[in-house]
Amino acid sequence: MQAVAQRAPASDRMIPGSEIAPGLFLVEAVVDWGRPSALIDTAFARWEAPVAHQRLLHFDTETTGLAGGTGTRAWMIGAADWLADGRFRLRQLTTTTMAAETAMLRTFARWLQPDTVLVSYNGKCYDSPLLKTRYRLARLPDPLSGLGHLDLLHPVRRHWKGVWENCRLATAERELLGVVREDDLPGSEAPAAWLSYLRGGPAVNLRRVLAHNAQDLKSVAGVLLHLAALQR
């Protein structure tokens, strides 16, 4: 955890996307991927009514660690949703300074509507409380409370605990979706990638975190569709 003595050359410090506020970068992509039906069956989560696919917002954060409490921060928020025409939209916010956190939190809040249903993998216990803490520390209203939240970890555990070696997202995506990641930066190395960038290091690993986070979002969406289909 030593500070990087010398700054990496400017070419190595490139962050993809557009700088929508000082130090805050947005990557946005719209792809033809997946085939969601208009109404997603949520009986797997013991919800009574199905949910229109446009209401779903899949999200996943990258943070400075797992220690918890007020000292852990999110420095990247990825979100994915289905557009009305059935295409899949990926949006990722990356902060390159600490001060950009407030702009990131405000931007993410704007993506949430009162009828938004959050979709995550372990987000109820991890991402959501962490973001609530960050909103509180930034003195911003908390946009997450009161929203519906489908945390896929629990239904996955109900179905496959004891069947698979574990119920991590990487296992679920391999078993259910056949996803095999290449050159994936393990999630545990994401904090170091950001820290090193903050201290003037190269952005190469930060870009790999973006790719990793995008795949996580796709996998969350894919696992949701798989679980919804199980019920039919």
């Binding site: 955890m1 030593q2 500070a3 220690a67 918890g68 409490g69 000292g71 921060r73 600490m98 609530k132």
Partner: protein
């Protein structure tokens, strides 16, 4: 087996008719005049009352009346007025004077009228539970609708959310505030936004290292409160100490209104200082304090008085409980009249003991210092101290347990053979006139401060030239930045590491987890007790008789790594007593300088505490009936120390005999220790003293005569060969792993310390030595040509800078 008769014919006059503390004091003084070296009376006083304040909500006033409180004591009314004026308040009145009502009234009023919240901090979980029980009773009596909860390590996870959201009064402890609440303050946002009062009870326990930590936790609390836009009012309570207002102000770093006049009525308190009789005039041996304590307690209980005995160790609690139970609880069909109370019992058992004591169904209680704090056990008539508790304040706190409103109470201090005890009973004026000790803290002690700035930075970023306590935090933030846990951006320092610093900072600096005691009698597997880490080596070694409510269990196996001791019920006529000693060895010398004819050093030392064996001691006769070996890992401590040495050639010139030099070093160590504790921390247990050889080959402890006795590396008394190297060394060391940074400032002030020690001894009005200077001395020494005082001065003179 029972060597003492159940009833002495000569005790009959004492037992003839029931009485109170005064009559018992008179009868004891008459019957045992030779043993009583001091007797005095602390006069009682009339109660001073005030009406219930106008501002109380009617339902609260009604609840108080329905519980028999139609008026307040004057100090409670004063506390009400002070809190309503917005001041921080410190209430310093004796035990059982109704202190808790001083904070209950403003807190409940604010909760009922403004939905304001309050945080209570108690040093122990037991006190927190007492307080919540009391609040709930009042709440129920008046249907006040106020919700009070304990929040501690035992609070289940699913209850925590509800407590954070709905608790009007959250009752916790400094450790929980430090490790669980402040680092998660955003979860407590609603609580903090409405926080109006912070109540800190038993603040006299927050001194020394622990108090310095707590003061920093309070700084962090205030910082978090400021984030939520609140500045809560502090209400602090303390038992009697010498500097209540100063101590309260040091803890919260703000001005405090102190209320020190109790309006609660008390009866007269009779105090007897009791020296056991000489049983062997040739050797000057006295009867044991234990036998005297037992006898006094027996007489008091037989006279129909509720009696509390304080013993210094858990083993002694069990021994004395057994003796009293043998007399009063020999019929198993009747409910027990005698109870033991000490740390190490399971919470359920302690609660039961407290309930029975309050209900008055118990006639005698034997306790360790666990009862010194405000655990509510109702009122008692007689308190017997088996040995001096070590400070004047603690003595009065313990005596404070006795005393009903109008009735005279009795406190008896029974001296042990310890030189300090013997000094006290020979000089009752020392005790009678001594002001209670001062509580001191040093929150800016660098390592403690750095720990808490680390925790504070985790809780909220530091911005600009933010102060932490009395200092600008910036230099410390630079250190943490270099360490890589903070990242600076513009004028903000933000936490960046993947760690939770509060977990690594222990307020009490006690290590390594409790031991559980597992009963395996007849194939059982029941946990019957817990023992803390430091007590385990001296109470749970294999072969130890471990007594619980005076039922003996033998330790069959000790699983040191697993922190478990397996015991079975047994029938024996003896108890066991561990032999333990401590020695020091220098590992690394950081710095050296001349100190007069000798040298002063500062560096790292290795402290070893070893329990080589134990003694078996027969009940009642106390004859030593055998030894057993103990095979336990040494308790080791790497820490820092400052030490002074004089070369052999210097000593040979200055002292005729080596034992005189050793006595001089012991006295010098005693004085240096007093001066040093005042200089850095003023909590004697945080800083320890030791006298030994420079190379760790031997160390010196005072033997029963108060003389220095050389002990070899194995702890056995040893004699030095005339030609053996002789470089006695006095050490002052941090009693905490790694040191707590006391030794460097001590080294920097080394010349001061020696000079102050010299003036301390010179100015002391005693002739030969006393607990105020070189340590207590025996009567024989008071006439010696070379008094301990003179010897200590001779050693110190050689160390004074030229």
């Amino acid at each position: 087996m029972n060597a003492l008769p159940d009833r002495y014919p000569s005790d009959e006059p004492i037992l003839r008719e029931p009485g109170d503390g005064r009559t018992l004091a008179q009868r004891l003084s008459k019957r045992f005049a030779a043993r009583i070296t001091g007797a005095f009376v602390v006069p009682g006083r009339e109660g001073s009352f005030a009406p219930l304040p106008e501002g109380l909500p009617p339902r609260l006033a009604q609840a108080l009346r329905s519980r028999g409180m139609a008026q307040l004591y004057s100090h409670q009314a004063e506390a009400w007025a002070a809190t309503q004026s917005g001041a921080h308040v410190a209430i310093v009145t004796p035990t059982a004077s109704g202190k808790s009502l001083c904070y209950t009234l403003p807190v409940l009023t604010a909760a009922m009228t403004q939905h304001a919240k309050a945080l209570y901090l108690f040093p122990t979980k037991a006190l927190a539970q007492d307080q919540v029980a009391e609040l709930l009773e009042l709440n129920q009596a008046g249907d006040l609708g106020v919700k009070a909860f304990t929040f501690d390590g035992d609070t289940p996870g699913d209850a925590r959310q509800a407590i954070r959201l709905h608790g009007d009064i959250v009752v916790s402890n400094p450790g929980m505030l430090h490790q669980a609440i402040l680092p998660h303050h955003t979860k407590w946002a609603q609580f903090f936004e409405n926080l109006r009062y912070v109540v800190i009870d038993e603040v006299h326990t927050y001194r020394g290292v622990f108090g310095s930590h707590v003061a920093n936790v309070i700084r962090r609390l205030k910082r978090v409160c400021a984030f939520y836009g609140v500045t809560p009012q502090f209400i602090l309570c303390s038992a009697t100490i010498g500097n209540p207002r100063e101590h309260a102000e040091a803890l919260i770093e703000d001005l405090v209104t102190a209320i020190t006049e109790s309006g609660a009525p008390t009866g007269d308190k009779h105090v007897l200082l009791w020296n056991p009789p000489v049983v062997n005039p040739d050797l000057g041996l006295r009867a044991s304090a234990r036998s005297q304590t037992n006898r006094i307690a027996r007489l008091a209980i037989k006279s129909g008085m509720k009696t509390l005995v304080f013993a210094q160790s858990r083993t002694m609690v069990e021994v004395l409980t057994k003796y009293l139970k043998d007399v009063f609880d020999n019929d198993p069909r009747k409910p027990a009249r005698i109870r033991a109370y000490r740390g190490g019992y399971l919470p359920k058992e302690r609660r039961a003991a407290e309930r029975e004591m309050r209900a008055g169904s118990i006639d005698g209680v034997v306790s360790t210092s666990a009862l010194e704090l405000g655990v509510d056990i109702g009122s008692l008539d007689v308190v017997v101290l088996n040995g001096y508790p070590g400070s004047v304040a603690a003595t009065w706190q313990r005596f404070g347990r006795a005393g009903r409103r109008q009735q005279a109470a009795l406190g008896v201090l029974v001296a042990s053979s310890d030189p300090l005890d013997q000094y006290l009973v020979r000089h009752p004026e020392f005790f009678q006139g001594a002001p209670p000790e001062h509580a001191r803290i040093q929150p800016d002690q660098p390592l403690i401060l750095l720990d808490h700035i680390r925790c504070a930075a985790f809780e909220l970023p530091f911005i600009g030239d933010e102060m932490f306590g009395t200092e600008v935090a910036t230099p410390w933030l630079d250190v943490l930045g270099e360490e890589g846990v903070l990242h600076r951006e513009g004028d903000r320092w933000e936490w960046i590491a993947d760690s939770y610093p509060a977990i690594a900072v222990s307020l009490r600096s006690v290590a390594d987890g409790n031991f559980v005691v597992v009963d395996r009698t007849n194939g059982r597997q029941t946990i019957i007790a817990e023992v803390d880490y430091t007590a385990a080596p001296v109470t749970l070694y294999e072969g130890a008789i471990h007594m619980i409510q005076s039922v003996p269990y033998q330790v069959e196996r000790l699983d040191w790594e697993g922190r478990k001791a397996y015991v079975t019920r047994t029938q024996v006529d003896y108890y066991t007593d561990a032999i333990d000693y401590t020695k020091l060895k220098v590992l690394d010398c950081f710095d050296t300088s001349h100190a007069g004819c000798g040298q002063a050093h500062h560096g790292e030392v290795h402290v070893v505490r070893r329990v080589p064996g134990y003694k078996k001691i027969r009940f009642y006769t106390h004859e030593n009936i055998g030894f057993g070996p103990v095979n336990l890992p040494d308790q080791e401590l790497h820490t820092t120390a400052v030490w002074w040495q004089l070369a052999q050639v210097v000593l040979d010139t200055a002292f005729e005999k080596r034992h005189q030099a050793l006595d001089g070093f012991l006295g010098a160590a005693y004085a240096l220790h007093i001066v040093a504790t005042v200089a850095v921390m003023a909590e004697a247990r945080d800083l320890q003293k030791s006298v030994g050889s420079g190379d760790g080959a031997w160390f010196v402890s005072a033997d029963v005569t108060g003389r220095g006795q050389i002990r070899g590396a194995d702890g056995q008394p040893a004699a030095l060969a005339a030609d053996a190297p002789f470089t006695p060394t006095v050490y002052l060391y941090d009693a905490f792993p790694g040191g707590i940074g006391q030794s460097e400032p001590l080294f920097n002030r080394r010349e001061d310390l020696v000079a102050q020690s010299v003036s301390l001894i010179e100015r002391c009005s005693c002739r030969a030595g006393c607990p105020g200077c070189v340590g207590p001395v025996l009567a024989a020494d008071e006439d010696a040509a070379t008094t301990p005082k003179a010897l200590a001065l001779r050693v110190l003179a050689l160390l004074v800078a030229l």
